[in-house]
């Protein structure tokens, strides 16, 4: 049976890469004695997958994972796993799926809370104006560098269609915005790239190394409907 769980990733553990996280869960399943199913073949591996891998350095309130296992009560699963997982990676809820559909095929949007500082102090209205004017542009392009056969290939991408909305939440010592961005295998905008473009186009002198990003929601999309995977 497929169990879908929601978990978080906080504080310093935002510096654990996706692959390291996979290994952490694999060891934790062993430690918690979870009856997880293994793939067939020469080198069997446990069957679980994480939807929309998070970039290094970004925290998250909700990440999703599907696990193929022999039935066990959800509450017991969560209790046993949380007992062996680090305190900054904990499972929040879970539910067995009625029908299988992979996380990667349904996840389409991610909502991010982004905190940063600008060169000069601005009030709410001013920040709103900067953001809204920026989003009025026909196109917002960034250049992505890919390595192919040892050669660097640069590609310009228009990220505007990948931005659903940006809401300015607060302008205290830090400016806080929420951004709903394309996330997943059908188009993906990394919030770091969003901040790069916002900074570049508006000359805001944001220290990009000090931008703090947290994923606060992941959403599936079917037709016109946007909903949570769990």
């Amino acid at each position: 049976m497929i169990l879908r769980i929601k978990f978080n990733k906080k504080n310093y553990l935002r510096y654990i890469s996706h692959l390291d996280l996979m290994r952490l869960f694999q060891r934790s399943f062993n430690k918690a004695n979870i009856p997880i199913k293994y793939s067939e073949g020469f080198n069997p591996h446990p069957k679980f997958s994480i939807g929309a891998p998070l970039s290094l350095g970004i925290e998250s309130n909700e990440e999703y994972m599907d696990i193929d296992l022999e039935y066990m009560a959800v509450d017991e699963f969560i209790e046993r796993m949380n007992g062996v997982l680090p305190k900054d990676i904990q499972i929040i809820s879970g539910k067995y799926l009625e029908r299988e559909e992979s996380l990667n095929s349904i996840i389409a949007w991610g909502e991010y809370e982004i905190q940063f500082q600008m060169n000069t102090k601005r009030d709410m209205e001013e920040v709103n104006e900067i953001v809204n004017n920026w989003l009025q542009k026909e196109e917002i392009t960034i250049t992505k560098v890919r390595k192919k056969k040892g050669q660097k290939i640069e590609k310009a991408i228009n990220i505007k269609p990948f931005i659903k909305h940006i809401i300015v939440k607060g302008v205290g010592d830090n400016i806080t915005i929420n951004a709903l961005l394309r996330t997943g295998s059908n188009g993906n905008l990394n919030p770091v790239d969003l901040m790069f473009a916002l900074n570049r186009d508006n000359g805001l002198s944001i220290d990009l190394d000090e931008v703090r990003i947290k994923r606060i929601g992941l959403y599936a999309e079917k037709g016109d409907q946007i909903y949570k995977p769990l």
């Binding site: 310093y12 890469s17 062993n30 430690k31 069997p44 350095g57 680090p86």
Partner: protein
């Protein structure tokens, strides 16, 4: 605690930031204000390498098991991290509490290879601790060191306040307890050094002076204090079953060199290979019992969630009941899909049964170390394997379905001729021929033979400690001779950098004056010397020229048997007479058989081995 705001900013800029955050499973964070003694343990290399070192896991858990003591870790930051730390003036900190290393009572280094010594200086510098022992004040930590390279402590005697010679499980707690009392009594730095110098196995360099002859050899080593011993005897644990063994290992978030449970099955080695320092200094052989090992393995698997156990020792096939041990482990863990692997294999035919047992779960790669290409030279170095052993083993191994074989050799061994060098090619080709001489249906996969040659470095406390190393040019000549002669696609040959081996030889057999060389090299930007991409040979040579230090004096010169060697004041239990005897026998191409078949008189008094194996 350091300024974590700055740390946060830096972590966004560096590669593998998880190297610097700690918080791994089974790591231990105590309230540093509540413990009485704070110990910072350092492996002077990058996190990924240091975390694979078994000794770290032992000492870490041993110290933290004591309520009054805390042990935290610190590694060499990788170059990108160092650059950011220096830019932001962020001092070096421990992973657990993010506390400045400078605020600890002790900073203890493990010395696993000589080429990590510049990293020690870099760590001290980043921690704002004076580099030279003589410049440290009461408020500075005691900088201490142990591990195999501490058997010749002299090349870093200027930097280290005191050394611990031998196995640390007992002595480290003696030292920390002594310090706890000393701290409560508010004693001075020198008072503590005077007290600690009387603990067996502890060497405090400042209480000794070295006098040199006109030819730069050592005339005399003089104790400067009435209470310090003239000879420092190594510490050794007699019973490994009752010794502290960790039941937990820190599990790194990032992938490290050994991503598995490391189970130490015994210490010591009885083969007596004449080039091997570990084989001499870890004597005598002492095993853990099967019951104890199975108990430890269960606890380690449970506490880590790892899926592989590596049986660790100097030569794991020598465990007296290896087959039984592996069967027991396989039985216990097969359901959990836990594999067992053996990292060091000898050319012994009986291992096939063992390998077959292991293969039930997972297949591992195969590496053999004939060390020399010809039988004559293998006799010189007392590597007790014959060509027949290799042929028999490899034949069986191929029949069992393996097809990738690695062979380890050394070039520049004493008495080596070009014929011996070319023997490496002969042996590698023979392995290839065995594969293709098997009927097609009996062999599987694509054959790949890799022959690797390292350059021989004479080490203290081996029968070759007097031998001059080959020059760099000679190493290159021999390596090229071999490279040019191997023209088979199935056989790959590679060799280690002779320049690195030359410096390793300078430091390994260096005296106190070599401290100045290491310091100057570090000042010129040398660090991470063991990483070929960061090794700056030219800077080392420049440093030698500026200081008028002759590297050849240390690396290339053959010593007289009656010369006083810089490490002669250390007693590794094996006697100098035995080493001299073995050296002379080597020149006559005489072998010495495994001491389990009968005592060879290596000089260990009250040896546990004697009479136990027959």
């Amino acid at each position: 605690m350091i300024n974590t705001k700055i740390l946060d900013k830096i972590l966004n800029k560096v590669e593998k930031p998880a190297r610097y955050i700690g918080m791994e499973q089974n790591s231990i964070k105590k309230d540093l204000d509540k413990v009485k003694v704070k110990f910072a343990f350092s492996f002077p290399d990058v996190y990924d390498v240091g975390m694979s070192h078994l000794g770290l896991h032992i000492i870490y858990n041993l110290i933290n098991n004591e309520e009054d003591f805390a042990c935290e870790r610190v590694f060499a930051p990788w170059l990108d991290m160092e650059e950011e730390m220096r830019k932001e003036k962020l001092p070096l900190f421990t992973l657990e509490s993010k506390e400045e290393v400078k605020n600890f009572d002790f900073l203890g280094f493990t010395l696993q290879y000589e080429m990590s010594y510049t990293n020690i200086l870099n760590i001290l510098d980043l921690a704002n601790i004076p580099l030279l022992s003589k410049d440290r004040k009461d408020e500075d930590p005691f900088v201490i060191a142990g591990g195999p390279c501490a058997y010749n402590p002299e090349p870093i005697a200027d930097f280290i306040d005191f050394f611990v010679i031998g196995e640390g499980e007992e002595v480290i707690l003696e030292i920390l307890n002594l310090y706890k009392d000393h701290k409560e009594a508010k004693g001075s730095r020198d008072e503590f050094l005077e007290k600690v110098a009387t603990i067996d196995g502890v060497y405090v360099p400042k209480f000794y002076d070295v006098v040199y002859n006109d030819d730069n050899t050592i005339k005399e080593m003089i104790p400067l204090h009435p209470n310090v011993p003239k000879v420092i005897k190594k510490r050794m644990i007699r019973d490994l079953d009752s010794m502290f063994s960790p039941e937990k290992m820190i599990v790194p978030f990032i992938e490290t060199v050994h991503d598995r449970v490391v189970l130490e099955i015994f210490r010591g080695c009885t083969h007596g290979c004449r080039f091997c320092q570990a084989g001499m200094i870890y004597r005598p052989i002492r095993e853990k019992s099967i019951d104890r090992l199975v108990e430890l393995a269960e606890k380690l698997i449970e506490s880590t969630g790892y899926e592989n156990i590596s049986l660790s020792s100097l030569s794991s096939c020598d465990y007296s009941q290896l087959y039984l041990l592996i069967s027991e482990l396989m039985k216990k863990f097969e359901e959990k899909k836990v594999g067992v692997s053996l990292p060091s294999l000898r050319l012994d035919t009986f291992i096939i049964d063992v390998l077959k047992e292991i293969e039930k779960v997972r297949k591992t790669g195969l590496t053999f170390a004939p060390e020399a290409g010809s039988q004559r030279l293998r006799d010189v170095i007392n590597k007790g394997v014959t060509e027949e052993d290799l042929i028999n083993t490899v034949t069986k191994v191929f029949k069992e379905g393996w097809s990738t074989i690695k062979l380890y050799f050394m070039i520049g061994l004493p008495t080596e001729t070009d014929e011996d060098v070319l023997g490496i090619k002969e042996l590698s080709y023979k392995v290839k021929d065995i594969f293709f001489s098997l009927p097609k249906e009996e062999r599987q996969g694509n054959l790949k033979v890799t022959a690797s040659a390292s350059c021989f470095v004479p080490k203290p406390f081996t029968p070759f400690q007097w031998v001059g190393q080959d020059s760099i040019d000679e190493f290159y000549r021999k390596a090229r001779l071999l490279k040019d002669s191997i023209k088979d696609k199935k056989v790959t040959f590679n060799y280690h950098d002779p320049k690195l081996s030359y410096l390793e030889a300078v430091i390994a057999r260096g005296d106190r004056r070599v401290s100045k060389l290491i310091l100057r090299a570090w000042e010129k930007g040398c660090k991470y010397d063991g990483w070929s991409e960061h090794f700056k040979y030219d800077k080392w040579i420049e440093a030698m020229e500026e200081l008028d230090i002759d590297g050849d004096f240390y690396a290339l010169r053959t010593r007289e048997l009656d010369e006083i060697l810089p490490w002669d004041f250390i007693d590794p239990l094996v006697s100098k007479n035995y080493l001299i005897r073995e050296y002379k026998k080597s020149l006559e191409e005489q072998t010495t058989r495994d001491c389990r078949e009968g005592c060879r008189g290596c000089g260990i008094v009250d040896c546990i081995m004697r009479g136990e194996y027959k």
